[in-house]
């Protein structure tokens, strides 16, 4: 079935009546920081929103929708000696609309972390259960895109409920899960008959060989390469914050009188106090060790644990690192460093 592009607005209007629809939108389309660079993110749709399905990758990834930048875990209150806790409950009902393959792959990585391996993270689970994901196949690439290096198919987003494929004046919509089939039923009034178009042939600036990456990285753990690489790192955490799959979080509390709440917040292993212990003992006291851990986690440790790479090749960190530390170049360098060792 085809969703004509002129019907997109009415579909989103209808969907917004049933759930929060998060769709790629320009932050500063009107007013705001005039003349500033365009930034995009998955914002709640409202009539008149500056929906931007043409942007290949949004500046902010859809990670916030499932793992918000800060999230209250529970609140507490102390009366006399008595302490009471009130748990946060997420009654999420949201549609992530227009998710690219790289970001969908990242959500699958988050699923592995938060939903498997002995413990289930309740707040993530609640959000995930209440989320319908609509994927959108890519028709163009940006210079920093390298998802095919991780064997991703830019035409089909892994794990999404409904996949959209650009068909010129419309989108071909197909359900890929039971949840998607049910949801697509409600879209019927906005759809017309049509056949699935052949996905666009995409050109990528580069494609890297990542088949042996994890193994190779293990052999170069002690290489001076990491020292050189980390010299210019600012430890600003931008790379982790813009990454759709970086999931590490910090936990802390905020008090006001006899009440307060405990919350979690995104964290970055490039921050100096990330693993600081009592007495200022820090197992990763140098930038070298912190940045090395970042790349090892993304490209080796996660794979050892969960079977696939924690980098999806979206290239956001490549574009936004203020000092130009480039994960694709690191991957390229690995071959050379290992050959030299």
């Amino acid at each position: 079935m085809i969703l004509k592009k002129e019907k997109l607005g009415s579909l989103l209007d209808m969907l917004a009546g049933t759930a929060t629809v998060l769709v790629p939108t320009a932050f500063n389309a009107e007013g705001g920081s005039e003349g500033g660079e365009k930034a995009t993110g998955f914002l709640p749709y409202q009539a008149g929103s500056a929906v931007d399905l043409g942007t290949v990758k949004t500046t902010r990834s859809p990670k916030d929708a499932l793992l918000p930048q800060t999230e209250t875990l529970y609140s507490y209150e102390q009366r006399g000696e008595d302490v009471t806790l009130t748990e946060t409950v997420n009654n999420t009902n949201q549609i992530l609309f227009g998710v690219r393959s790289c970001d969908a792959y990242s959500i699958a990585c988050l699923d592995e972390v938060f939903l498997t391996r002995t413990f289930v993270d309740t707040l993530y689970y609640e959000r995930r259960l209440g989320t319908l994901i609509v994927g959108l196949g890519c028709t163009a690439t940006e210079r920093s895109c390298f998802c095919t290096s991780f064997e991703l198919d830019p035409a089909v987003a892994p794990g999404v409920d409904i996949q959209l494929t650009d068909a010129g004046d419309g989108y071909f919509a197909e359900a890929l899960t039971t949840k998607g089939t049910e949801a697509l039923d409600a879209w019927k009034p906005f759809l017309t008959e049509g056949t699935k178009p052949t996905p666009a042939e995409l050109e990528f600036t580069f494609k890297l060989d990542t088949a042996k990456l994890g193994e190779q990285l293990k052999t170069m753990f002690e290489d001076p390469y990491w020292q050189d690489l980390s010299m210019k790192c600012l430890g600003c955490g931008t790379c982790a914050f813009v990454c759709p799959s970086c999931y590490c979080f910090d936990m802390s509390q905020n008090n006001k009188g006899s009440e307060g709440y405990r919350f979690r917040t995104w964290d970055s292993c490039t921050f100096v106090d990330y693993s600081m212990m009592a007495g200022f003992h820090n197992p990763r006291p140098t930038k070298m060790k912190r940045l090395r851990n970042r790349f090892m986690h993304k490209l080796c440790f996660y794979q050892e644990r969960y079977g696939n790479s924690l980098c999806c090749g979206c290239g956001r960190c490549i574009e936004l690192c203020p000092v130009g530390i480039d994960i694709s170049r690191v991957i390229e360098d690995v071959e050379r460093v290992v050959a030299h060792d």
């Binding site: 289930v120 979080f249 008090n255």
Partner: protein, 281 residues
């Protein structure tokens, strides 16, 4: 989306603690105290096996990871050294005060696999609490284990924890030898001033049948693992617990990794062979 296989032992949100109360506080040293905690209705906060961890803290001040140092039918004990912000607050607790507790976390001492073996426990300072549950398990099931040696050291006599058990209870257990040493000034003559590592070789152990359990600071760890290797105890038969900064305790926050292992979930107990294979920072 992944099918959820629930082998999660805790009901409800694993990051949300239960409110418990302190029922007893024992001052061990000038900066170490033990806290017995119980649920508000007088029950056990959680079931645990020796070696497992728990998050213990105070709602407005935060929580820290500790090994459960002892457990009774309706209480758990944490032995806490005062080192920083949260532990300072914990040390200001009084009996009856309400605290937050969650757990159990992590793997545990291989009590089953060690049956029939001689046990050599080596601990330094605040390294004894994590080892104690294993030692107590061996003593409670005395027939299952061979000779037991505890080699415990601290900077001074005042830094030894669990003094009553050390000096009065454990030495009287059958085939159990308690060796205590301090590195500095020793008033009274109950202990010798010595270093642990050289002492181990003189114990006359049947090394082929000995499992060593090692828990202490970096220097104790370094010197003793070398001594154990010299004595011919295989790396597979040396057990230790690792420590890393922890936040979630459930393998999600990413904080406590050493290589691809999460200490909170895959550890804290590892064999020396496993530790050797890790990519350590």
């Amino acid at each position: 989306m992944i099918e959820i296989g629930h082998d999660c032992t805790c009901e409800g949100n694993p990051l949300v603690p239960q409110v418990c109360k302190v029922i007893e506080i024992t001052t061990e040293t000038s900066d170490v105290s033990s806290f017995k905690v119980q649920t508000l209705d007088g029950g056990l906060p959680f079931e645990f096996v020796p070696g497992q961890l728990g998050m213990f803290g105070i709602a407005p001040h935060g929580e820290c990871m500790f090994c459960v140092s002892m457990g009774g039918p309706d209480w758990l004990e944490f032995t806490v050294k005062r080192v920083g912000t949260v532990t300072k607050r914990i040390h200001q607790l009084h009996v009856g005060q309400q605290v937050i507790v969650r757990g159990p976390y992590g793997n545990h001492w291989p009590t089953e696999q060690c049956k029939g073996r001689d046990m050599l426990f080596i601990a330094g300072g605040i390294g004894l609490p994590p080892v104690r549950t294993f030692l107590l398990h061996c003593l409670a099931n005395r027939a299952d284990y061979g000779r037991i040696d505890l080699v415990y050291s601290a900077s001074t006599k005042h830094d030894l924890v669990f003094k009553e058990q050390l000096f009065e209870l454990w030495p009287n257990e059958p085939n159990t030898h308690v060796h205590i040493s301090v590195y500095k000034d020793c008033d009274g003559n109950t202990c010798t001033i010595s270093f642990t590592a050289p002492f181990l070789e003189d114990l006359g152990l049947d090394v082929s049948n000995t499992t060593a359990v090692l828990c202490g600071g970096p220097s104790l760890y370094r010197t003793c693992s070398k001594a154990l290797a010299n004595m011919g105890i295989a790396d597979e038969n040396i057990l230790t617990t690792l420590e890393m900064r922890m936040k979630c305790g459930i393998g999600k926050c990413g904080r406590c990794n050493v290589g691809e292992k999460y200490i909170c979930l895959d550890g804290p107990v590892f064999t020396q062979a496993e530790v050797n294979a890790m990519l350590k920072d």
